[in-house]
């Protein structure tokens, strides 16, 4: 039996190399292809205006997707990000007036982090050690957070109050630039750097990979897997809160359903990037590629005049394709 495994693994290793390379380049190739075709067909694509637009759209999604990456590496999934995003957005925006800019920012970030932490508490308390169980728990929590957002806002879209001071943090995040880079893009670069170091160089980062790789073995080797699970959901909550702030700063308003669709887009970005749903592997860098593809795709399709409904269908098809490639890799 063992030699069978040996032989199969040899084969897989070989395949893995090819497929990893193939798939990494596939994402890059898809991005390049998209850029080339669209810029030929629609010259508007390459204008500075559109590029800034892309960078701004990139901002909120990448934040959520970076957090989601850790949840998926840890072998779990988080559907609650859409709810958290809406809740954080409406709460923060409404607190700018009474608490001031900084106060609202702190409350918003803490709220998102706490929501993520609460997810992990519920998951651990219910003993849900499987991805599917976590999926339903976080789906339930998404509904709860979404409902809280609706109750809090009374179902109305909150406008960002025009802050009297000339310097507004939110205005800077939303429209500010440093050189050719938007401020939200710089925020993303900082987060990426920190998370990349966290992922590759730290003890906690390693325990997340081990938890995703094999929970039983990790626990028997004395790894605190409950702490890993708490950590991944807390990170996801924190990153979603940052995503919420970037998002409402750009649109200067927050509706209680502003986060709708972010969970699927974030998971799509992570999986298309090549982080496998089975857990134990992947990287925030891959997620950057995945997010780029997702954002470019919707931007290009918009420019080319493809209807939104058609876009939904294409996104769904890409997710299925990515998961199919993913499972091919695990054969």
């Amino acid at each position: 039996m063992a030699e069978r495994i040996w032989n199969m693994k040899e084969q897989i290793n070989f395949k893995n190399v090819i497929q990893t390379v193939f798939r990494d380049y596939l994402v890059l190739a898809a991005i390049a292809l998209l850029v080339i075709i669209t810029s030929i067909v629609e010259p508007k694509f390459l204008t500075t205006g559109n590029m800034t637009n892309i960078m701004r759209q990139f901002g909120p999604l990448i934040m959520v997707a970076l957090g989601m990456t850790f949840v998926i590496i840890g072998g779990f999934i988080d559907l609650s990000v859409s709810g958290i995003l809406s809740l954080v957005a409406v709460v923060t925006i409404s607190l700018i007036e009474p608490l001031g800019q900084v106060g609202a920012l702190i409350v918003g970030i803490c709220l998102g982090t706490f929501c993520g932490y609460l997810n992990s508490v519920l998951i651990l308390a219910s003993g849900a050690m499987k991805q599917a169980e976590a999926l339903f728990i976080t789906y339930g929590m998404s509904t709860v957070y979404g409902a809280l957002a609706l109750i809090y806002s009374g179902g109305r879209t909150k406008q960002m109050s025009l802050v009297k001071a000339n310097t507004s943090i939110y205005k800077t995040i939303g429209t500010g630039t440093v050189g050719i880079l938007s401020v939200s893009f710089i925020m993303f670069l900082v987060c990426l750097l920190l998370l990349y170091i966290f992922q590759n160089k730290t003890y906690m980062g390693r325990t997340i990979y081990l938890t995703g790789g094999n929970k039983t073995a990790a626990e028997l080797a004395g790894i605190h897997i409950r702490r890993s699970i708490t950590l991944i959901y807390t990170i996801s909550g924190l990153m979603t809160a940052l995503g919420a702030i970037v998002l409402f700063s750009r649109v200067t308003a927050a509706s209680p359903v502003i986060g709708k669709g972010y969970e699927t887009n974030a998971i799509l970005a992570v999986v298309v990037g090549g982080t496998t749903l089975i857990g134990g592997n992947g990287s925030v860098l891959r997620t950057v590629l995945g997010t780029t593809l997702v954002i470019l795709l919707s931007n290009c399709l918009n420019l080319l005049g493809v209807s939104v409904y058609m876009q939904y269908m294409m996104k769904g098809a890409i997710l299925v394709l990515a998961i199919w490639l993913d499972s091919r890799k695990q054969l």
């Binding site: 039996m1 040996w6 032989n7 040899e10 084969q11 160089k201 003890y203 980062g205 004395g222």
Partner: protein, 505 residues
Amino acid sequence: MENTGQDIILSIKNVCKSFPGVKALDQVSLEVRRGTVHGIVGENGAGKSTLMKILSGVYQKDSGTIIFDGEDIKSTTPIQSMKRGLSIIYQELNLVNTMSVGENIFLGRFGEMGGMRGVHAKAKELLKSIGSNIDTYKLVSELSVSEKQMVEIAKALSFDSKLIIMDEPSSSLTADEMKELVKIIHHLKDQGISIIYISHKLDEIFEFCSMVTVMRDGHVIDTKPITEITRAEMIAKMVGRPIENEYPERPDCVGETLMEVRSINTKKLHNISFKLRKGEILGFVGLVGAGRTEIVRAIFGADKVKGHEILIDGKPVKIKNPRDAKKAGIALVPEDRKLQGLVLPFTVESNISMANLDKITRFGFLDSSAERGMAEKHVKALGIKTPSVKTKVRSLSGGNQQKCIVGRWMETNPRILILDEPTRGIDVGAKYEIYLLMKKIAESGGSIILISSELPEVLNMSNRVLTICDGRITGEFDPKTASADQIMEKALEFGRKDLEHERAN
């Protein structure tokens, strides 16, 4: 050859199979006579299972010919092979746990059998023909491993198999269950069915195979009638070098008490108390499911257990989870290395370091050169055969994988090392190295708890043996003086009483 054609059920000639980077089978030729049990032995990686997978149609051969029952088989699929009369029973049985016995036997063929009633009637008949009276309406998940195996055999028979391949069928069977299997094998043989029997356990090969083929590194080394080969010759052919002893000399350096376990009680375990001394190898003997693994899991904090006491050096220690156990100096090499021991897609390095991450962490950051050093130290010390420490652990052989887990725990400097089935599914050479390692640990003052289903292993390595039956410790023996029969009698005690009780009712 021509005149014996009728007697040969399976003839394999010059079969080759390559995988990228490895030649798994090189010019393999083999003949199996009708109505015989043909043993195939060889170390892990010898090519046994690859050959069987080609026969069953999971893989396709690169070249060579296979003639089964007079028919030249060019290419085949698992279903076609089964219909031709060639069935394979894998080590990890392929049954649907949530379906009944009858449904499993005729899976996908309910219509042909005339509905569920026909399925169960025919299944019952088949099981009866191999001397089993399992209720065909029972769910497979409720069966013991040996009963599952019977279901697999019945399934093979339902295809009118002429040749049944058994891939290490005994690795999870207890001695009694093994006797049942032997009976069935003889019975099948009498019906004219040929069997290819793959096993690591040479005793079994000698017990009931008439021919044996030794494989090594993708070659057939030799095929001989069992009467013309000795055990030592067989081992020498398997490993390619003579091995003088299967077991090293027993270490003898038992000191004072190191750990005392007092009254572990759970649903399954009843009043488990024992002492472990310094430098001692303590063997646990019992059937699979007797509670051996549960005892060590309770000690190690892997299962939630309350109300027991563990004293190390006379001082009580609280062990609530594996982390506490690690701190207390206890290490556990678990029963199932693939599911519980290793993170298969990860590197050798990270599998070794995973119990020792705190050692290579400075202010929360991992020191990758320290990690590498740690892994290389153990790869060298334990002789782990791997291209580098960055190799994925899943590509190593069973024995080397096991050594990675041992290395992981050696780094923690454990005072108590618990080995649960440390040599399951690994080859003779690697086994000997594991034994040597145990000896070394004991001689350097460490204590070992050894759980094994292979009685000779426990008897030859332990200083003291505890028999465990039905969640109780039923006896204590000195393996130097006690006989295997005496020990097995105690290990089966409660089971037997239960049986008598049932019969009386």
